[in-house]
Symmetry: C2
């Protein structure tokens, strides 16, 4: 019995790392520098996916928020974002996943939320590798703080 990421999350994002039982995924969308954190656990003793923040064990929830805060800060510094959007929605893919998205006044959907809007523009291999390298370098700076 174990965790499997939803197929749509697997199709739309790239696994960058797993830290403290949380998958750090890079959305495959060059429109936004967009990370998706997915707790890699199920309801205890079952294969049943967790859907809600309040169903996480407290320690996993605490790590999720700490990671989210670190990535939020790092994303804003790297992209000079005007606003970071953080959200657990899950109306389409109910498996719990937390979006962290760098937004700019000049981006195509500003100020609307991005979910369910427009069409992803896949990352080029170069963009993908650059973003994945950024995530790895940020993780080094977080280590010991989580």
């Amino acid at each position: 019995m174990g965790f499997t990421p939803d197929k749509r999350l697997q199709n739309d994002s790239i696994l960058a790392s797993t830290q403290h039982n949380i998958q750090i995924r890079l959305a495959n969308d060059s429109r936004y520098f967009w990370l998706i954190l997915v707790p890699a656990i199920t309801h205890e003793g079952t294969d049943k996916a967790i859907h809600e923040i309040h169903d996480l064990p407290a320690s996993v929830a605490a790590n999720l928020w700490t990671l989210a805060s670190h990535f939020s800060k790092a994303l804003q510094a790297e992209t000079k974002a005007d606003k970071i959007n953080i959200a657990a929605i899950g109306n389409v893919v109910s498996q719990l996943h937390l979006h962290i998205v760098a937004r700019h006044h000049t981006d195509p959907l500003w100020p609307a939320p991005i979910w369910g809007q427009g069409t992803a523009i896949p990352l080029s291999p170069q963009e993908r590798d650059k973003r994945l390298a950024s995530v790895q370098s940020w993780l080094k700076t977080f280590s010991g703080k989580i």
Copy 2:
């Protein structure tokens, strides 16, 4: 020097309580049972509003997430929501505020996010008082856990 809620937050929601320096506000919208948590602090030593989760002091951030998780669970139990949506967006009102919204498959915007969509339908005084009473009763069950 001190915290003042953004005027649009004041206009669109009702202060239900303040706990651990976090305002708990009820969105004045009968379409959704929708709470808004607003850390009632500014950047230290200034009147400057906090915009990002990662700019909160760690203790306030921890309380914010703990409250959000408790309210998420309580909202889902009360409304039999199909999904709870939790989000810090702030592209329009940049002062940091965290939405917690009970969503149903049958609601008018499902599965789209609600922000920036449609028009709020103000609560009747009876609905408002009933929701505020629910929030108060939930807070009693949380006390000692935060």
